[in-house]
């Protein structure tokens, strides 16, 4: 299975529009399950389509294994039909005039496979995905989930070296999506295919990917394992985008902000080293509360607040705290030990803090200081 390499890739659609993708360097390893994650319009689908060859480049180069498939400098462009990849579209793009069997069979015919082998291959892929009983039906006679399986089967049938998936689960309902997610993960383990998966759903990315590439405004924000992305967001955008309920962000140095003052008080002993700090962020699950009379551990970030809302989500509780004019959200999996209206103290361990500089980038100095026990990724 090949490695895909994008270097200096850029895409603009002409005119004065901003680049859909700008200066993208990304390496997708052999057998990796790579998720391109980002809000809509961030360029993730464009990136996927450029890998497939459905969009040409405005600058840069793409290689698949040893082969240059797309390069401005070398004037090379390998058309999609010669790239030997599989692509599952968001809309599935099943051919409405062909039966399910013919849909799946299509690529095999193009590869001039003998009929008996074709038959066997189609049957086996259909079995894997549990759609063999729809063989003679037309796409319009299937439900969304079934169509999605057919779209996947159609691509798996030709055993592509690279499988590209463009938000394939977004049109499914929640239960089906979960089921298909498990199936995709199983297929990845079974076929060992390199998969590039585009999604705007962080939950999907977290559960499926071996590596996540977060994009925004056509630019790559961070590449890393799901844990990396969650535990060490490289900038404020990634911090905000990943995590639900969203991360709490406190800007430092705000005169009339209680939260800001609390954070400043906590950071001031490290003044010199953290001089560049401009904002801190706290995951909702990192925040604890202490009722009046309870002990607050020493050396933590803390401050007074009032409980202004408790939202049960079944199994966990989201608690809204109000400090002055600002709000903090925390999530707990224990029944909350406080009541609405109660004045409490919130606190968080230093290692749960994410510190960012004025440009919004993660401050590594803060990690060395606050999370000494963690090994830093190179």
């Amino acid at each position: 299975m090949p490695k895909i390499n994008l270097s200096g890739v850029e895409k603009n659609y002409g005119g004065n529009a901003a680049n859909a993708v700008a200066d993208l360097d990304l390496e997708i390893g052999d057998g990796e399950f790579m998720c391109l994650l980002g809000p809509s319009g961030c360029g993730k689908t464009t990136t996927l389509r450029m890998i497939a060859g459905l969009e040409n480049l405005s600058a840069g180069e793409i290689t698949v294994g040893p082969r240059v498939v797309d390069s401005i400098a070398q004037g090379v462009f390998v058309p999609p039909e010669k790239r030997q990849m599989g692509l599952v579209f968001q809309s599935y793009a099943l051919w409405p005039h062909l039966t399910i069997e013919r849909n799946i069979d299509f690529g095999l015919r193009l590869r001039n496979m003998p009929p008996s082998d074709r038959e066997a291959r189609v049957t086996s892929v259909m079995k894997t995905l549990g759609i063999e009983k729809y063989r003679a039906r037309y796409p319009s006679q299937l439900s969304g989930g079934q169509q999605q399986r057919v779209a996947l089967a159609r691509m798996l049938a030709v055993n592509p070296e690279v499988l590209l998936l463009d938000e394939p689960l977004s049109n499914l309902d929640a239960a089906l999506r979960l089921e298909m997610r498990a199936e995709l993960k199983r297929l990845h383990q079974e076929f060992k295919t390199t998969i590039v998966f585009v999604t705007h759903d962080q939950w999907e990315a977290m559960t499926l990917a071996t590596t996540i590439a977060v994009m925004s405004d056509g630019r790559l924000q961070q590449v890393g394992t799901p844990n990396d992305i969650y535990d060490r967001p490289a900038n404020l955008f990634v911090a905000r985008f990943v995590g639900n309920p969203p991360i709490n962000i406190v800007e430092l140095g705000q005169e009339n902000s209680v939260l800001s003052q609390n954070a400043n008080r906590f950071l001031s002993p490290h003044g010199g080293e953290l001089g560049a700090a401009s904002a801190i962020a706290l995951r909702p699950e990192a925040i604890r509360i202490a009722r009046q009379g309870d002990d607050v551990p020493a050396g933590v970030l803390s401050g007074g607040a009032q409980v202004t809302g408790i939202l049960p989500t079944g199994g966990s509780w989201i608690i809204e705290l109000t400090c002055g004019a600002e709000k903090l959200f925390l999530i707990t999996h224990q029944p909350p030990d406080a009541e609405v209206g109660e004045a409490i103290t919130y606190w968080a361990k230093p290692k749960a803090l994410h510190v960012f500089d004025a440009a919004g980038n993660r401050l590594d100095a803060a990690d060395r200081l606050l999370r000494p026990e963690r090994k830093l990724n190179s």
Binding site: L57, F77, W95
Partner: protein
Amino acid sequence: MTLEQGATGLDRPARGRLHRLRYRLKIILREPTTIIGVLAAALFAYLIIVPILSLLVDAVQVQFGDERRIKQDVGAFTSYYLERVFSSRISHDMFWEPLRNTLTVAFGAIVLSMLVGGTLAWLLSRSDMFGRRWFATALIVPYMLPAWTFALAWTTLFKNRTVGGQSGWMESLGFTPPDWLSYGQVPVIIILALHYSPFVILLFGNALRRFDSQLEDSARILGASRLTVTRKIILPLMRPALMSAMVLIFAKCLGEFGVPYVLGLPVDFDVLATSLYRNIASRQSGVGAVLAGAIMLIGIITITIDARLMKEARRFVTVGSKGSMNRLSPLGLWRMPATLFAALMFLFSVGLPIATLFLSTVMKVPAQFTFDNFTLDYWIGTDLKTVALTTGILLSPELWNAAWNSLTIVGTASIVSGLLGLLVGYVVARTPVRPLATFLRQVTFLPYLVPGIAFATAYLSLFAVPRGPIPALYGTTLILVLALIADQMPYASRAGISAMMQLGKEPEEAAQVAGAGWLRRMMLIVVPIQKGSLTTGILLPFISGIKGLSLFVVLAVPSTDVLTTYSLRLVDYNYTQAANAVVLIIAALAYFGALLGQKLTRTNLAEGLGS
């Protein structure tokens, strides 16, 4: 060292540009899409733009045969024709009076069809009138019939002694209708209004149906009366649809030839189209070119206004969600009279003309309803005591010849334009060269701006004489086929473009990723998926081509007669029954063609009938 650096420093951007260019060329030429697009663009430039340019040049060049009168050589620049049309002694009769007539007829038809069509549209879409489903189809039928069907029916009924030949029914019954009722402005207006009110029913009715009742409800809840709601909410929102219907009717009236020709001739009532025809018939090609140019200009202005209105209309789109379920207004006591009104309109616009025409073909003496007066001679008789056409129409070889011509000419043109339309749609949707897509879209739309008769004149101007390797095509079937293809391209390319846009890129891209090259994708994916819209794209132009007259009347010669020109010739020679019979055949072809199309594609073709 420094020298070398300087050299590469200069070189790099230049080389970068070269690579970029090479890459782009590779992308563009990778697939035949762009090459096909370029070829199609060249074809349409020749079939559409060149004839129009040639026509415009004719208007300011001395034409063959006019050398002595203008005292200049053929081909020299002259303003003679312009002066002749706009400011000479005959310009009143040739241009200004026909222009005035065209405008009054158009506005008359607009007002009348708005009143009738608007009322019917509301009754059909928003009231609880009886039989709405049936009427919804039945009231569209007039539009499927050739407009001059009504003109012939009208003369059959109201012809008076001003004109020779077989008398009208009224006259036979002892009542002589006055000229103003028999010919000219009044009947032309009434007939065009009847013919185009389906336009209003469709456009206005659709807008009414799509109208979200919640908008109405909100106003009612805030205390507005029904009248206020209509005045302040519904009508303003409907304005774009109404205006658009008006503009389209105007554009259609502008090019309307058959009706004013049949009904205007006896009282010298000329509109621009008939004036143009007269000049062409008397070989005044220079003057004809000026007149055609004038018609074209008015057409272009009108459609430009329409485009503006449509742009505005988009701002008004009221998205039909669940709320767009429209409630029907109970008519109460008016339910029966309203139904009667709709029935009466159907009777006037379909029943009566068809029945009249049919009866006229089976009766010896008009309007004498005795048993011995009925005959099938005009259909299947032999040895009739007439000068020519001594057999019934069905036994006349001319009819079958004309029918064959109609089917082959219109059939070929429709199939070719349908395929070209799909191809244009494909190129427009796919080519990476955007200017090419824009050019194709606009050039194929151009004939829409040019009324058929003016377009035919343009063809005459270009193809009447040999030009370069192309021999003179006048008098051949080829010129008719080519003109018809060009004339149908607006509909065909619009159908193709919208079909390709609706299909989206993805099914094709899926095949591409699966490893299918261009030809395979076309044969296995694109064409099979577009089968339905291709059928429509062929059938619609076929139906409108079968009943079309204005294009053929300029370009056809007796040997290339089609059904419509044949029946017009019969009208000219006063073979009333035969002419009526032919028109009935055309009407039947158009109607059943539309019906068949509806069956095949399971859509309402009437909504797409555009010419």
